[in-house]
Amino acid sequence: MKDSRKYLVAFGLLVISFGYIFISNETGVARIFVNLLTFAGIYGLAAIGINVHFGWTGLLNFGHAAFMGIGAYTTILLIPHALGREGVVIENGLPLPLAVIIGMIAAALLGLLLGLPTLRLRGDYLAIVTIAAAEIFRLLIRDFEDITGGVYGVIQFSDALQNLRPNFITNLATNIEVSSSQLWVGTITWILIVITLLFLNRLQKSPWGRALRAVREDEDAVRALGKNAVWLKLQSFMLGASIGGLSGILLAFNYGTLQASTFVPVLTFYLWAALILGGVGSLAGPALGAVIFWVIISGTDSLAEVFFENANGQQLAGVRFVFVGLLIMFTMIFTPSGILGKKEELLLDIK
């Protein structure tokens, strides 16, 4: 597909999805949109991290939830918060920007820790290790109640971000009747996506980005040409992990509470779904894929009700994922490289 046509398709899909949500909801459309776009942005940012791993370097990371989780927990526990069953209040903390940077570094270090023993091996081992590590991480978070709040989680940390909210966001939120705190999180998320994409765009076109693509294609050839493939993979792994960490922090602020159960394996697979829909290896693809994924998640209830009249909420929730599955199937059949992916650089070898 030509580039212009690709973007036209992407634009068309967005118009159709938004239009659908607009007409299928009589009240509270603005609220639905803000919610959808905030979640989509956070998932999109996380999927951009996976894209650096898989799309750029060919690394199969199935444990992205752990990177999101360690970023979120590190940052949130460093700022003022309340913790655990009794809600022990901890009033002192670092300033938010510093805590965010430390959170991203923590995610990168977890990437280093997982990558060092596994990146010397072939791709599949990394997939196995990451999925297991993510579960270990989640269970540790759940069991170390003294530090992480355990199943009761962490609360009352949102002020650190919401105190920074400018007045015009608050006014806008009041005017369009949406949650001002979510509007603020969503705005920050999309600003961070733009910054991240600008940053990655520069890297993708650089000698470093070129080297990663070479690693993706053939590691042995890379080594034969005097390049340290393992180190390149580690760098990519750490960069993608820190982007995941950033998205995890945003996810925590969006929920307003932080719990281990947020970072279940299925979160990682939602991100993969978004990545595959949007286009592996393309720059903006993961963000677009995440938007479409969330349109389906939040927009199919009413559609499902048409087909299944007597279904309850839980059953309807299942139907959403039938739609996600169908959409991924159609994507694979008609445009296997995803909506914005390059056919010539198709990574999922489906003919």
Partner: protein, 257 residues
């Protein structure tokens, strides 16, 4: 004992299970030579190549390159010292353009760091510009100029061999190890590749190649080393090798008198 030869090995051994794949007592390669390594299938030639380039580690023995003991060096570090190899099954970066294949190979390690790449300093931009000129020069030599912006996977089998050769050349290697550079290449292109190899040798690049095309080997080699069952069974001038009893036996089997 450190030899002053370009490359030398000392009782190099490698076995897989019960199979002794490589068992070379001592072998030296001097400067300014085209050496061919021949032998029947399964003689251990490619394994020997893998050991020389550290793509596999020897069970026993030492390797010296350019006056240094490189036995425990990782393959990419060895490549940085000026030893570059190609592969029996061509390994170009299929989903990158011909230009990118070459640029990647020739780019400096320093520029490839994430921080330098982000800063995009003037020296990096200049380096990349000079690099592209160098790429153009080599593609011209290899007759690949018209494919510069194509994806590498669009090349024919022979052109991929050329690209792999070019990718090695842009690194200005001291020693080039070619694993079957003529395999699957049509006769006309094979001639071209041979001419290029000869030219590289005159330009001062040392070449060791594994090749099955005996005519080609005899035509361009200054020295032929014959392997069979992991051992060196003959080593000498091409014309001597042609009449060597051991070599004929290794290829055709022992005659029953």
């Amino acid at each position: 004992m450190i030899s002053n030869k370009l490359l030398s090995v000392n009782s190099l051994k490698k076995s897989f299970g019960g199979l002794q794949a490589v068992n070379v007592d001592s072998l030296e390669f001097s400067n300014n030579e085209i050496t061919s390594l021949i032998g029947p299938n399964g003689a251990g030639k490619t394994t020997f190549f893998d050991l020389l380039t550290k793509f596999q580690s020897p069970d026993h023995g030492q390797i010296f390159f350019d006056g240094k003991d490189v036995t425990s060096l990782q393959s990419y570090k060895l490549a940085r010292l000026g030893m570059t190899r190609t592969f029996q099954l061509t390994r170009v970066f299929e989903k990158m353009s011909v230009l990118e294949n070459m640029q990647f190979s020739g780019s400096s390690i320093k520029n490839e760091s994430i921080s330098m790449s982000l800063l995009k300093s003037k020296s990096l931009v200049n380096f990349e510009k000079n690099l592209e000129n160098e790429v153009d020069r080599i593609l011209e030599l290899l007759n690949l100029t018209h494919m510069k912006h194509s994806y590498a996977r669009e090349l024919s089998g022979g052109q991929k061999k050329l690209l792999e050769l070019g990718r090695a050349l842009i690194r200005n290697p001291k020693l080039l190890l070619l694993d079957e550079p003529l395999a699957g290449v049509n006769p006309k292109l094979a001639e071209e590749i041979l001419d290029i190899i000869k030219k590289l040798s005159t330009d001062g690049i040392n070449i060791i190649m594994v090749e099955h095309n005996i005519n080609a080997v005899m035509k361009i080699s200054e020295r032929v080393v014959v392997m069979a069952e992991g051992k060196i069974i003959a080593d000498g001038y091409p014309e001597d090798i042609r009449n060597d009893k051991n070599v004929i036996e290794a290829y055709l089997g022992k005659s029953n008198e």
